[in-house]
Symmetry: C2
DNA sequence: GCAAAAGTGTTTGGGATACACCCATGC
DNA sequence: GCATGGGTGTATCCCAAACACTTTTGC
């Protein structure tokens, strides 16, 4: 096993695609790069994964440092997305980036150490690297995720109205759904239960509040849509 | 960017889960490890991914060296599966493994440089590392892949009978399907077309031969099952 | 009373499921 | 002629899709 002595691994990085729904639009968190390369451009939060850290550990550390978010506490869901053989971020050579996709709900990003913002996925600014591609790949994954699992819970508060739930689907699918069919379908899926609370906002009939029976990923009995 | 000088990446490895259907069973290719660790145990073919190689390039090189297979020519399909933060393969520390899932059809493995064999996924031998978990993860992925895409083409010769196609689904789903319903459904999906050839084997009615209209991944209009 | 969002049922068509017999061939 | 696998049709049920009005509230 002599060759192990000479073995030099490629640079390993981790990146996060963080989704949140704002004003009924699917948005993604981007950070303005403070340094070269791509200084001043918007990019996914991410960084170097050194030896002795798992990719999740590295991601957690980096995201905490760069944007002040704790992936364990502040995200309602996270999963590994894909590993990209990206164009060199590091002048030394080829870099491999393990990407994660996460969701949050009403995240407070005011105290972030860097300039960060949520952008609608449909109107991304010019981004560094191939990050726009990664966001679209993640969007597609999330779209199928909510069709065959209960993943929509990750975008909602603990209790929510059926209209809010429908807006999550509409934002991610990027199309309108029929209100009656949506409700009928979702209620028969047996994933959510009525609470005794109601939401009173504005000059109209108050809405019943529901909650997900489980907030871990479950596959649907009948796939959605 | 001083810290880049100190940055040491983790070991990066690539591994291949290669599926083939043999005797109507879903099988996976394993290689007997010639060296420690896990010397003598069965494992997925894989190896170190050095700097300056993409994961696909490294996989191609390693698989060619270790088992004499060209991932470009000998596989009917390949995709990235998942990146595992595996237990250390290398005594130096934590290793990250990018895994791929591929399919072959009637592969010739007689001239492989190492001892390799196909094992039914349902009856795996004791495997090195977490490789049994990786195989089952890949199996699950393949199972959904054939439900919403035409991926079954990857397990079949250029032309095939409907019974052979059904056997692919049965092997991967690990259950019997109704012959009439399967045929009706598949023919209305409009993915395959009749050829003018027929297959005559054995003392029974000959079978029409079909072919896939496309041998690249396409999503089905209506998901299967 | 009126604006605004919540809530609610029925009809129709298509596809999934269940199920059993005839057909073409080699020997 | 018989064993073997190829090939075919129908009835039922459930679900998806289409579609519009009533209810409850704040002002």
């Amino acid at each position: 096993m002599n060759y192990k002595k000479q073995y030099i691994p490629p640079t390993l990085t981790v990146d996060l695609v963080l989704f949140q729904i704002i004003n009924n639009e699917l948005c993604v968190l981007l950070m303005k790069r403070p340094n070269d390369p791509f200084k001043g451009m918007w990019a996914l939060p991410g960084g170097y994964n050194p030896e002795s850290e798992t990719t999740m550990e590295a991601l957690n550390r980096i995201v905490k440092n760069k944007i002040g978010i704790d992936t364990n506490k502040d995200l309602s869901y996270i999963e590994q997305l894909y590993t990209f053989d990206t164009v060199a971020r590091d002048p030394r050579g080829h870099a491999v980036s393990v990407t994660y996709m996460g969701c949050s709900q009403n995240l407070n990003i005011d105290k972030a150490p860097n300039e960060i913002a949520f952008f609608p996925v449909a109107k991304l600014p010019k981004t560094a690297y191939d990050h726009a591609d990664i966001v679209h790949y993640a969007h597609k994954r999330m779209s199928s995720k909510i069709t065959y699992t209960n993943a929509a819970f990750a975008f909602l508060a603990d209790t929510f109205t059926l209209t809010e739930l429908q807006f999550v689907y509409e934002a991610i699918f990027d199309r309108k759904l029929d209100k009656r069919n949506f409700r009928k379908k979702f209620l028969t899926l047996n994933l959510i239960s009525e609470t005794k609370k109601i939401q009173k906002v504005g000059a109209h009939r108050p809405a019943k509040l529901y909650k997900f029976k489980s907030k871990s990923i479950e596959e649907l009995a009948r796939s959605f849509e």
